[in-house]
Symmetry: C2
Subunit: 228 residues, 2 copies
DNA sequence: CATTGTGAAGCGTTTCACAGCC
DNA sequence: GGCTGTGAAACGCTTCACAATG
């Protein structure tokens, strides 16, 4: 039972930035850069250098004072920390507009998340092939999850079907869910859920736009799009 | 002139949750609910009640002690605060897989963000019609932005083209950008950028999955390769 | 001597706990 | 009595500033 020393807990905010560093480092590596300073990495990542150093320090002391970080080694360490040393097959629920776009998104498989299956409830869609993956009936979910050892599910259904999709994913054995439906999913505490909501993002931008205009209302008297 | 009363600043974290409350309240309203407690709203939104109350308190004191919040009124106030009292036309750059899915996403227009235009560089795509919107050449961007009074742009191009797309949007007069490309965009400080990155989300989930398994898997940290 | 690694300060967010009010 | 609104405490994240060091 080797009581493995409990791994350092990495702050959520840091975990969310590691993928960004990873992408930048990979690009830099491809361009032949083999050492990089926190300053430079911060510049490319649009953050500040102290933050980069703090973030990287959670992985261990992998830099060299006076020099910087060895790109290849850092890439390796981040990949290891993020669990990217092997593929994580994903299953997509919902073969509509979005599901299709996701299936067609090459970055998916390239970045270590091959599409193990796409399922839908609509008989009209079953059997069609999206980017090389055949759409199967949602009842086959448990089988796909088990045979392909899927632990990440993607909910790409309309809002009304999302909770059912999540329930089915959880029952099938998935332990992480990426939810694109504009719904707050109810799942067991142990299940990790992340949400991507287009409308929310746009509404946040709307807030800032409105604020921008708001300050000038009296000063100018125009410039504000006619309100309803 | 007119030293406009500075509007309350609402914390970013709160701004990001208001759209969620708004959706829930709208749904509840449609179901005939006309009063709601912070407790109930918190439950539906997957957050805690104190947070709901604090969030709503930034809008003003719109609740009634001992009773709760009037749904319709709260909907109105949140919409006003988020600038959702009028439409915000958006322009999409990139008519590939993702651009098409976005254009086809009904929620876009329904939620007050009609697609004012889609542009691409690829001549093969120009002229085709996606969900009722004709794809136009990217050179027409300034014209679209000006005639349709667009202030929000969506970058749905491949990574390599994203910075150019952002530059063009900014030059055309857009002041907010929603970026789907896995790239950190460099834009003037005044421009508001939000990013949606599929790979980042999956990698965050991967981290948690790996952690879940991690307790047992590998034993030793890899030794550092003979460092420089 | 440039650059990392990190205590400590600063800041924004969350949560608590209860006064205020209907 | 029940629920909001909010100071204050707790917490987590960011930034500073500098000692450590290759």
């Amino acid at each position: 039972m080797a009581p493995e020393r409990t791994r350092r807990r990495i702050p959520d905010a840091t975990v969310a930035r590691l993928p960004v560093y990873l992408r930048i480092l990979t690009e830099q590596g491809d361009e032949g850069v083999d050492s990089i300073s926190s300053e430079r990495l911060a510049e490319l990542g649009g953050v500040n250098a102290a933050k980069v150093r703090k973030d990287l320090s959670y992985l261990g002391s992998y830099g060299t004072r006076g020099v910087g970080y060895e790109v290849a080694y850092l890439v390796y360490q981040i990949r290891r920390e993020l669990g990217l040393t092997h593929d994580w097959p994903v299953v997509i629920v919902g073969a509509g507009n979005l599901g299709q776009a996701l299936a067609g998104y090459a970055g998916f498989g390239e970045r270590g998340f091959p599409v193990a299956g796409i399922v839908d409830v609509d008989d009209a869609k079953i059997g069609t092939v999206l980017s090389g993956v055949r759409v199967r009936h949602i009842d086959e979910l448990p089988q796909i999850v088990q045979t392909k050892r899927v632990s990440i599910g993607v909910v790409a259904t309309p809002a009304a079907a999302a909770q059912d999709a999540a329930d089915r994913l959880v029952r099938a054995g998935v332990t992480s869910i990426l939810n694109f439906a504009p719904v707050v999913l109810a799942v067991p505490r142990a299940i990790e859920v992340r949400k991507v909501d287009l409308a929310v993002e746009l509404q946040i931008l709307s807030y800032h736009e409105q604020r921008r205009a708001g300050g000038a209302i009296h000063a100018v008297g125009t410039a504000r799009p006619a309100s309803a």
